[in-house]
């Protein structure tokens, strides 16, 4: 509207700002404080050195999350595209089907997978009928990745779909008209034009995956501890060590920021590269 903010509008933002300050800025400050101090409150880098021994866990978290993100992207890209070419009724139905599981609690959904994947679970009992198995599915890396893909797939589909419906059919036809077969339409037109959706989708799948502790705890068992679990243990477990926990949280935050920075960088470079 280009109008000057009235005092009322400014006033209406106050509750949100207060909320953000109390529940985001203050905890962030506390994490930073704990991360850089000893139990006695002295400034130190000791906490960071002490968590270096968990390097493998960090690496594993990132690896599993990347695998889950790639699987989500591969599944969601064609799905999002097909949906974007459907009629309005079809799109609504598909969106509903994709959103439907999200109306249920995240914990319940993951519990559901536990009962399916367990050694005595539904899948194994079904396979038994054919004399197969039992397969050990629960408490594996695969189960953790499956949990991540299942829970976060909608966050990949939705941004892709919403960017793809903006791609005019005639742009695809123009590419075909100029000699592009299906493969070239995909890499020269569809992917570049969907890039903002891809970036958003990656962010929305990778970030919660890399910091999860529920999925890994429930589907990964004791063998597949991720950073999320480690951090949670430092605060809620018997070891109670908020200093180490905060240090891990800070490292995780920095890692996420760096990775997202690289991806966004890739985005703008890709756009730049196509203009030469």
């Amino acid at each position: 509207m280009g109008r000057k903010k009235s005092p009322l509008t400014a006033f209406l933002t106050v509750p949100y700002l207060v909320w953000m300050a109390i529940f985001v800025l203050v905890p962030l400050g506390m994490v930073l404080y704990f991360g850089f101090t000893t139990a006695e409150g002295q400034f130190t880098f000791q906490n960071f050195q002490s968590v270096l021994k968990y390097g493998d866990t960090f690496f594993k978290s990132i690896r599993l999350s990347l695998v889950a993100t790639v699987i989500c992207l591969v599944l969601a890209f064609p799905l999002g595209y097909i949906m974007s070419r459907m009629g309005e009724a079809g799109q609504r139905t598909m969106l509903l089907l994709i959103m439907l599981p999200m109306w249920m609690s995240f914990l319940l959904r993951t519990y559901g997978w536990m009962t399916l994947l367990e050694n005595e679970g539904l899948i194994n009992r079904f396979l038994e009928l054919f004399g197969i198995g039992p397969l050990s599915m629960i408490n594996t890396e695969g189960a953790v990745v499956l949990g991540m893909v299942y829970n976060y797939l909608p966050f990949m589909v939705l941004p892709l779909h919403s960017i793809m419906i903006k791609i005019d059919k005639s742009i695809i036809e123009a590419a075909e008209d100029l000699g592009a077969n299906g493969f070239y339409v995909l890499i020269k037109v569809l992917i570049p034009l969907s890039l903002p959706g891809i970036i958003t989708g990656i962010t929305m799948v990778f970030v919660p995956s890399v910091s999860t502790f529920v999925i890994s705890r429930m589907l990964g068992g004791g063998k597949n501890v991720l950073i999320g679990d480690l951090i949670e243990q430092q605060f809620l477990g018997t070891v109670y060590n908020p200093q180490a926990g905060s240090a891990m949280a800070i490292i995780l935050m920095v890692l996420i920021l760096v990775i997202m920075g690289i991806i966004n960088r890739f985005d703008s470079e890709e756009m730049e590269g196509m203009m030469v």
Partner: protein, 460 residues
């Protein structure tokens, strides 16, 4: 000369709608061909079939004598300029134009040379690095043309490319396009609903309506010798009247009988007659072929447009000399100015098949009406004669029948409507204007319908 492109009996039905009906056409190399018609006439669909985005249900598309029905769009030697340009928003001007060449894996240097040469032709030199969404409509249009032409297509397809531009720019671009076409000698197939654009630019015009070709010819021929009332009405302004061909070289309309140059229609045959407003000369009342009174005058810049009422018909006359409203004038025309055309609808009346479904009840389509004293056994097949005047156009919620309006032509007194329903065409007269190619409602005056039993009709 061999045709570069041939369409043979192309038929296409989409969701029960007959979009194209038996379209056959042959186009010679190097011509500027225009598909002209109102929206929904199938011209864009025909273009999409040539481009390979749609495949016909029946019929063949041949390129240089070779059937290309099954050749996918990306392999066809044609390129398209789309209605809303469809430029790649993630690429700059250079890369948009270079898109097709890069796919052909040409060397970087050759791509650069050809793109630059094409940008020069469309007058966009210096815009290479510009983002396409920073360009004006006219500039985007030029990029779209360059992007298609740089691939040196054998045929360039243009789908209402100037539709989004303002009038001045459109005129400039028309001339630009004609120049480019003359220079490159590429076959252009151009789709438009603008008759002026078609007449200006084309070597050959294909007039279409309801998925059928109405007439193919040079612009002059189409204008001077329209094949039917639809073409006459669509191309330029016309006076179209009901007429009767008394015999060869003699036609009567508007209360007079006049010599004409047409023959072969038979005797006492109903026909349509067309006179162009600029062919009619206003004279002293005694000197004209017909007498009338001027009812309305509009100054159009170069000429006056005058309405003349004559024997109950409304004539439009163009002249640079003003005859004031109320003045008595003579309407003068020569046999050469009278164009005789076959009626769009065969005959003056509607003949519909019906059946006696109950004592004193006759049914046709999904309607039925009572007729006292019919005295025909149930199951008798009957012919119903319905005059165009006894069918009324009403709003759809009050209608007996919802019908599709195929054509509407002003006949100097009333509108002649041809509607389509239950696989039959119906003729009706109305004083109201309706949107063609939409559904309208009609109501029958059942008492005015003549019921005739069909001889040899089966019983039961």
């Amino acid at each position: 000369m061999n045709p570069i492109l041939e369409l043979k009996n192309i038929t296409l039905t989409l969701e029960d709608d007959r979009i194209l009906d038996n379209v056959s056409l042959s186009i010679e190399d190097g011509q500027f061909v225009t598909f002209l018609g109102p929206s929904g006439c199938g011209k864009t669909t025909t273009l999409r079939i040539i481009a390979g985005f749609l495949s016909p249900d029946q019929g063949d598309v041949s390129f240089n004598g070779e059937r290309i029905n099954d050749l996918p769009a990306y392999k066809r030697p044609v390129n398209t300029v789309f209605q809303r340009y469809a430029l790649f928003p993630h690429l700059n001007v250079f890369d948009n134009v270079a898109f097709g060449l890069k796919l052909k894996k040409l060397s970087k240097e050759e791509i650069r040379l050809r793109v630059m040469e094409m940008l020069e032709i469309v007058d966009l030199k210096g815009f290479e690095r510009r983002k396409v969404n920073r360009l004006s409509g006219g500039q985007q249009q030029r990029v779209a043309i360059a992007r298609a032409l740089v691939n040196q297509p054998k045929i360039l397809l243009l789908d209402e490319p100037l539709g989004a531009l303002d009038l001045k720019l459109r005129k400039d671009m028309q001339i630009e396009l004609m120049k480019i076409q003359k220079k490159l000698k590429t076959t252009f197939i151009y789709v438009t609903h603008d008759q002026e654009e078609a007449l200006t630019m084309s070597d050959m015009i294909v007039v279409m309506k309801d998925g059928e070709i109405q007439q193919i010819g040079r612009p002059e021929d189409i204008y001077n010798e329209p094949k039917n009332a639809f073409v006459a009405d669509f191309i330029g302004e016309s006076n179209i009247f009901d007429a009767v061909m008394e015999k060869d070289f003699e036609v009567s309309f508007c209360g007079g009988t006049f010599p004409c140059l047409d023959s072969g229609f038979g005797e006492h045959k109903p026909v349509d007659v067309v006179l162009r407003p600029e062919d009619i000369v206003l004279t002293e009342p005694k000197e004209g072929n017909l007498k009338g009174v001027v009812t309305n005058v509009v100054f159009k810049g170069v000429h006056y447009e005058m309405n003349v009422s004559c024997n109950g018909l409304d004539w439009v006359v163009h002249s640079t000399r003003l005859s004031p409203v109320g003045s008595e004038v003579g309407l003068s025309f020569t046999p050469d100015d009278i164009h005789i055309m076959k009626r769009l609808f065969d005959g003056d009346e509607n003949y519909i098949l019906g059946e006696v479904t109950d004592e004193n009840t006759v049914s046709f389509f999904d309607l039925s009406f009572e007729r006292e004293g019919l005295n025909l056994p149930v199951g008798t097949r009957v012919s119903l004669t319905i005059s165009p005047k006894s069918i009324e156009v009403v709003s759809i919620d009050r209608a007996d029948l919802k019908v599709y309006l195929e054509s509407l032509i002003y006949k100097g007194d009333y509108n002649e409507l041809i509607v389509y329903t239950h696989e039959e065409s119906l003729l009706l007269h109305s004083y109201l204007d309706q949107q063609v190619a939409t559904d309208i409602g009609i109501k029958f005056d059942f008492d005015a319908i003549t019921v005739t039993p069909l001889s040899g009709g089966q019983n039961g």
